[in-house]
Symmetry: C2
Subunit: 156 residues, 2 copies
């Protein structure tokens, strides 16, 4: 198992795993990203989104897509893990933990004091894994969003 | 009421409102950011954190501290609103909505399709305001975190 920063040639595999994650999260049609949009987002001159891949015998079996966030309380940046996914065939091989370890190293190198992410509240296998590596739910905090027509209306 | 991008001279007022927000959120000692760290984060050569201020009669009465996030589902960046706060004296003057409107314009200019943030689950006045401007809770999603010793352990 090798974990490394993604390269442009990984994009088709990354998109495949993003779609597999959406299917797992019961939103099979949610993914609007394309190979082109991912390539542009991850590999432009000043990307603000990054990806690591876990590779096994030449195949990409896991992905972590992340960006930097910031906390006014700590006064420091952090890593926000947008997507973590390991293909079904590769579960239990340590790929998820290896991806988290790579992010922890990345966090250290960048002066980040934490890694944040979100999980669906029915996804207990994921939560068991997160707990096992030292993660904990941020109880009391509720995510909110404004998008679509409401966002447009706000602008006008 | 004027809403504008923050300038270095706003940092003392921004920090004061960050601390006031922490007090409001019942974590009065949570803020480790300093004027120096905020200046460095907001006004370096390639900042990834930004701030808007709402100004009334020359005083900064509200702040929005934000950064860009990303969604693999939309394939697009978004705005994450880390801190929104309006001083108690200025509540009900439209400062909060004016700050959101400025972020909606910023989102449009940057090709962002949504604004995300988090709220404490007892903060019903804030939720009422968010609902009134078209926001909605992202039910089912639970924020998680790894930091401190657990993050260090993961690295080793």
């Amino acid at each position: 198992m090798i974990v490394r920063r993604a390269i442009p040639a990984d994009v088709p595999a990354i998109l495949r795993l993003i779609v597999a994650l959406a299917v797992y999260e019961r939103e099979p049609d949610a993914v609007k990203a394309t190979e082109e949009s991912l390539t542009q987002s991850l590999f432009n001159d000043r990307p603000h989104i990054f990806a690591h891949v876990a590779e096994h015998e030449g195949d990409v079996v896991g992905i972590a897509v992340w960006f930097l966030n910031y906390s006014t309380w700590t006064g420091r940046p952090g890593i926000y893990l947008e997507d973590l996914f390991v293909s079904e065939a590769a579960r239990g091989t340590g790929a998820g933990k290896a991806l988290f370890k790579a992010l922890a190293e990345e966090a250290d190198a960048r002066g980040c004091v934490r890694i944040d992410w979100a999980v669906l509240d029915w996804n207990t296998p994921a939560m068991d894994f997160y707990r096992a590596i030292g993660g904990r739910p941020q109880l009391g905090w509720q995510p909110w969003r404004i998008d679509g027509e409401a966002l447009e209306a706000l602008r006008s």
